[in-house]
């Protein structure tokens, strides 16, 4: 198992290097226009432009540029690690902001993931145990509502209801856990709920259908034929098998959300990666977009690694001998 993890880790590194190559081509080779111009301001003299190019490492051949890019990325640059330079539009260093924003996004996504699992799994299991029951139909309907409700609308509605009207919860913004845990939770609760409801609905349906499939498996029949109590059949036999595929799904969803919580972050004014990538896109700020893209892809790589290891832990059949 250790060797397997090591091998997967090495492959993850290889994938990350390939990802850097792809991002390099997308962000450095393909765009037309000179990024130096964007940074040098109005009426730059040739001298200033040349200096900015040197600074951005833009005056080399493509291959050398890529190597420099890799070097900065893996060894860091004067703005910190990983070396992603500075934002063309705000002039601020990328790396420190990246870490700070990643923290917020990770808190948002992990909290939401916990929440949607806490909702989705019990609802899915209960629906599967009583398919086509009133509960099943109601959960399907409510789930469809959550899935089809635009997230920004849901967020605004929650803000209006719980913050402006009822005043139960804090509105927008972020308070660090280390500053004030209670305020942290009060600020994060609505974003968590907003982000998780659609996922909870989807996961409930997936758990339900996995569970229904599993309950039809021969080994469940065997468990019944052994006279096991129904509760044990559901929890130890059926649920366990039903949750194995969820692990991969969860990892992929979390990884996708690392760069994809734009709307929730914007509505609730959380300065995470999602709102940043939106900023980067709107301002054609390539280093920002590049940074989030890299983090998101690395997140996908790492989380799929974690998912595979967890999968192997949960399912002995895929465990390497």
């Amino acid at each position: 198992m250790g060797r397997y993890i090591l091998r997967r880790l090495m492959w993850t590194v290889v994938v990350v290097i390939i990802v850097t190559l792809i991002t390099f081509v997308i962000f450095y080779v393909l765009p037309s226009g000179d990024p130096a111009l964007r940074f040098a301001g109005k009426e730059p003299t040739a001298q200033v432009l040349a200096q900015v190019r040197t600074d951005l490492g833009l005056n080399h051949s493509v291959a050398v540029e890529y190597l420099l890019y890799l070097k900065r990325l893996f060894l860091g640059d004067r703005y910190g690690w990983p070396g992603l330079g500075f934002s063309y539009s705000s002039g601020a260093a990328i790396a420190p902001q990246l870490w700070q924003r990643a923290q917020i996004t990770i808190q948002l996504v992990l909290g939401a993931a916990v929440l949607w699992m806490l909702i989705g799994i019990p609802v899915g299991v209960y629906s599967a145990l009583r398919p086509r029951s009133r509960f099943d139909r109601a959960s399907l309907f409510v789930g469809l509502v959550f899935i089809s409700t635009p997230v920004f609308w849901l967020g605004l509605l929650m803000l209006w209801l719980f913050s402006s009207t009822l005043g139960w919860l804090q509105g927008t913004g972020y308070v660090a856990f280390t500053t004030d845990p209670v305020q942290w939770a009060a600020h994060m609760l609505m974003p968590w709920i907003t982000l998780s409801l659609a996922f909870a609905a989807i996961y409930a349906r997936i758990v339900r259908s996995n569970m229904l499939d599993t309950l039809g498996e021969d080994y469940i029949r065997t468990a019944r034929a052994k006279g096991l109590p129904e509760r044990r059949i559901v929890t130890r036999h059926a649920l366990r098998a039903s949750l194995v595929p969820i692990v991969t799904l969860l990892a992929v969803d979390i990884a996708t959300l690392v760069g994809g919580t734009v709307i929730v972050e914007t509505v609730f004014n959380l300065q995470g990666l999602g709102s940043w990538v939106l900023y980067g896109a709107l301002n054609q700020d390539l280093p920002v977009t590049l940074a989030v893209t890299l983090v998101a892809t690395v997140a996908v790589c790492l989380l799929s690694l974690v998912a595979d290891i967890l999968y192997a832990y949960m399912d002995p059949r895929v465990r390497p001998e």
């Binding site: 060797r3 090591l6 091998r7 090495m10 492959w11 290889v14």
Partner: protein, 360 residues
């Protein structure tokens, strides 16, 4: 007129070997041994005749079939069809070979595209190989030939029964008028009453078109019914190769065990108290092959020779018996072939009793 090529066997397999390498390594894989799926298998099949290959699961019989159909590449050895070495064919030549050699699979349902109609499935080879002529009529003729209603060409696989699906698979294989058909467990997924229909169909087709068959099965009854010659394969090697009629009087102890395990002819003889040679344990791992004769650990005859149910003769353990002809012309790989009067049943029962009797 007798043509030189006509007298050659249609299929010649020489020293065919397949090893699936087992690799490990962090980034650069290095070999850590191999699964010896097929080892040094040699046989020929005459035109219009049938070779049966029988063995347990994991014995390498399906791997052999797939190599002949060029679905997987052999590690070494040669395969010749109609005098042409096909072992390394690529491109257009391989496509031509695919017309000549067709395969019918055990799992008819799994090998049929559920989104295509029966007509499309059967017509697909015609389309792929650009066979000229009225394709629709051709497909109708094929369906009719395998005993399906041509009007059902528009139906999908799930609308057919298991036997009918296997007929669709056979019709597809027939579409390009192959000279050689590889039948991999053609009836083992079918109900008893349906098996007979398919087996009869296969016999009829061979009679009509002179197709050469290689039949793979674990069921000696099916093999005996279809084949002219039978190869018994154990852990990737042929241990006995004989005429079908002679296989019921086996000389290799492993063949004897298979024969005794096969369903006896009912309604005849004294009744139901059939005695079987019950082999001990499972077939050994194909990764670390046993020394000497691969069957020695389970062989009852070896115990008869040694006189001790827990010992085998040194020769069986250290030297691998070569496959060679015996007096009757059958090929055999055994140091101590069966003699009449050998009580293999008793020897096998003795083997099953543990040495110390420690088990509760």
């Amino acid at each position: 007129m007798i043509d030189g090529t006509r007298t050659r066997p249609l299929l010649e397999v020489q020293s065919l070997t397949k090893r699936f390498p087992l690799t490990r390594g962090v980034i650069f894989a290095h070999s850590r041994g191999a699964v010896h799926a097929v080892e040094d298998v040699t046989f020929t099949v005459a035109r219009g005749r049938t070779l049966g290959i029988v063995g347990e699961s994991g014995s390498g019989k399906s791997t052999t079939a797939r190599m002949i159909a060029r679905l997987i590449d052999p590690t070494s050895g040669t395969i010749a069809v109609d005098g042409t070495d096909i072992t390394r064919l690529v491109g257009a030549d391989l496509r031509t070979l695919r017309q000549q050699v067709q395969m019918v699979f055990q799992d008819a349902y799994g090998s049929l595209n559920p989104r295509q109609t029966a007509g499309q499935i059967v017509g697909a080879p015609l389309r792929v190989h650009h066979v000229p002529g009225d394709r629709r009529a051709h497909v109708a003729g094929l369906l009719e030939r395998v005993g399906l209603n041509p009007e059902h060409a528009a139906r999908y696989p799930h609308e057919f029964s298991g036997g009918q699906r296997q007929r669709i698979g056979i019709a597809r294989a027939l579409a390009l008028s192959p000279t050689l058909m590889i039948l991999d467990e053609p009836v083992s997924a079918l109900d008893v009453s349906v098996q007979a229909h398919v087996l009869n169909l296969l016999t009829d087709l061979q009679d009509e078109h002179g197709i050469t068959y290689v039949v793979i099965s674990h069921d000696l009854g099916v093999i005996r019914h279809l084949a002219d010659r039978v190869a018994v394969i154990y852990l990737g090697r042929i241990v006995e190769l004989a005429d079908a009629a002679a296989i019921t009087a086996p000389r290799h102890p492993y063949t004897a065990a298979l024969v005794s395990a096969a369903p006896a002819q009912p309604g005849t003889g004294t009744g139901t108290t059939r005695q079987r040679i019950v082999l001990t344990g499972d077939a050994p791992s194909a990764i670390t092959l046993p020394t000497g004769c691969a069957f020695h650990a389970r062989c009852p005859k070896a115990r008869l020779i040694s006189g001790d149910p827990h010992r085998v003769p040194e020769r069986c353990r250290s030297e691998r018996p070569p496959l060679g002809p015996d007096a009757d012309g059958r090929q055999l790989a055994c140091w101590y072939p069966l003699e009449s009067g050998d009580d293999l049943i008793g020897a096998a029962q003795a083997m099953a009793i543990p040495v110390s009797g420690a088990q509760a």
